[in-house]
Symmetry: C2
Subunit: 252 residues, 2 copies
């Protein structure tokens, strides 16, 4: 586990080294996960995340990405070559991410809707992000560059936009271990505001799994690791594909 | 306090009665607020919220509002007539809400930016909402109709969009008692997903003030009060107008 952290730090190089001393490392031990049983589930989830039909993948570089965003993206891409990390595609509609076999009744394609974090067509104005999954560490990171339409206090990202990118990243991590999930609790400590146009790394991991409950944690840091912008904990609930969302939440 | 709740329930009528039994009432006692000292601050804050320069007010009805949204809006407007409630305007840029005297150095107008919750020009696609303040109860409510571009799970609002409207409403309540503030913690329990296009009431109140810290809580319910969609607690920090945001967050 620690070797993977060191590899990540090496892979990122000096200009974008994650702060990985033991006090702030995100490489925690995953408690409650059996070493054998979840494997097929894990790999099914990975497959699922890559199985979406042909739609525009918003997680690919575009001209609005800063040099810092591009550098970090390319370094993660490099670390994908040996299979340690996997790039996660991202589409404009939540249904585009789900294979037919995992759809909930009465879930249908609703092409007039848009995934909240991918609802802008003009590049660079809103959420610019790309996620990478480390299956062996049950860890999902998100390179996030907030655009000028995500403003809260003048010049900084709105607390709601930070909550959105955390929910999406940590949710992606929960999906990896439990398939379809729903946020039950999200608690965020905001430490330092995120300047619009800057690049931050949202780093989430699974802490524990208890039955249908998945407990996770997350940190949002500047790419040099020196500034902690936010930290969060979350609880996600695994969904049953034979029930509607409303039924599942009422039977929690 | 309780009389105001009853008046609100009466004002809303049978078709949109808020669930106001003692177990779930939002009319809590405000601890830590002196009955005299904060008054001028309270009224200054109210004035501040109405003092913005001439910009489009997005909190006025438009053709995308459902009948349920319009009915609720009109009932709150009716309750504004005796001064119990006040309608809060809402602009497309955070700087538009701030009078010159309260701006933080080096805060400037940035017209190319947009307030996150008001970043869409097409009516009905994103956040449709209007807020009302009850000064005597230190309570802010928000009528919220999530549009199809706020999707998370198919057909339902993204957890991040719910976090955004909670942060904005509860933040407005904190502004009322403490002037300029910043979110330090936001913890949300998601109980039932919010269908896109439905109307919910985000009901927030100040629970306690300790120095620069403002503690608040919030519930998100269907307009008939029967469905609890989410509940949240939050901590906001009062800002000092002579310091930048970065300085303030690092000296918390």
């Amino acid at each position: 586990m620690w070797r993977n952290c060191v590899r990540l730090a090496k892979g990122l190089g000096r200009s974008a080294v994650l702060h990985l001393d033991p006090k702030v490392s995100r490489c925690g031990v995953v408690r409650g996960l059996s070493p054998t049983a979840p494997c097929s589930l894990l790999w099914n989830s990975v497959t699922w995340l890559s199985q979406a039909r042909q739609s525009k993948d918003y997680a690919l570089p575009n001209s609005s990405w800063s040099q810092g965003m591009m550098d970090l993206y390319n370094r993660f891409l490099e670390m994908c070559k040996d299979g340690t990390w996997k790039r996660i595609p991202s589409y404009g509609n939540s249904v585009d991410h789900i294979p037919e076999s995992l759809k909930l009744a009465p879930e249908k394609e609703q092409k007039e809707t848009r995934l909240f974090s991918r609802n802008m067509d003009t590049e660079g104005l809103g959420f610019e992000y790309a996620m990478f999954l480390n299956p062996s560490e049950k860890r999902m990171v998100c390179l996030f560059q907030p655009g000028p339409y995500l403003e809260g206090h003048a010049g900084f990202a709105h607390g709601g936009s930070t909550a959105t990118i955390i929910d999406s990243t940590i949710g992606g991590c929960a999906i990896f271990v439990a398939g379809r999930v729903m946020t039950a609790n999200l608690s965020i400590n905001y430490r330092n505001p995120i300047p619009l146009g800057s690049v931050v790394l949202v780093d989430s991991k699974v802490d524990q799994v208890e039955g249908r409950k998945v407990f996770l944690s997350c940190q949002v840091r500047s790419i040099d690791g020196q500034t902690l912008h936010a930290e969060a904990t979350a609880l996600f609930i695994q969904l049953n594909s034979t029930k509607s969302l409303q039924q599942q939440m009422s039977s929690q």
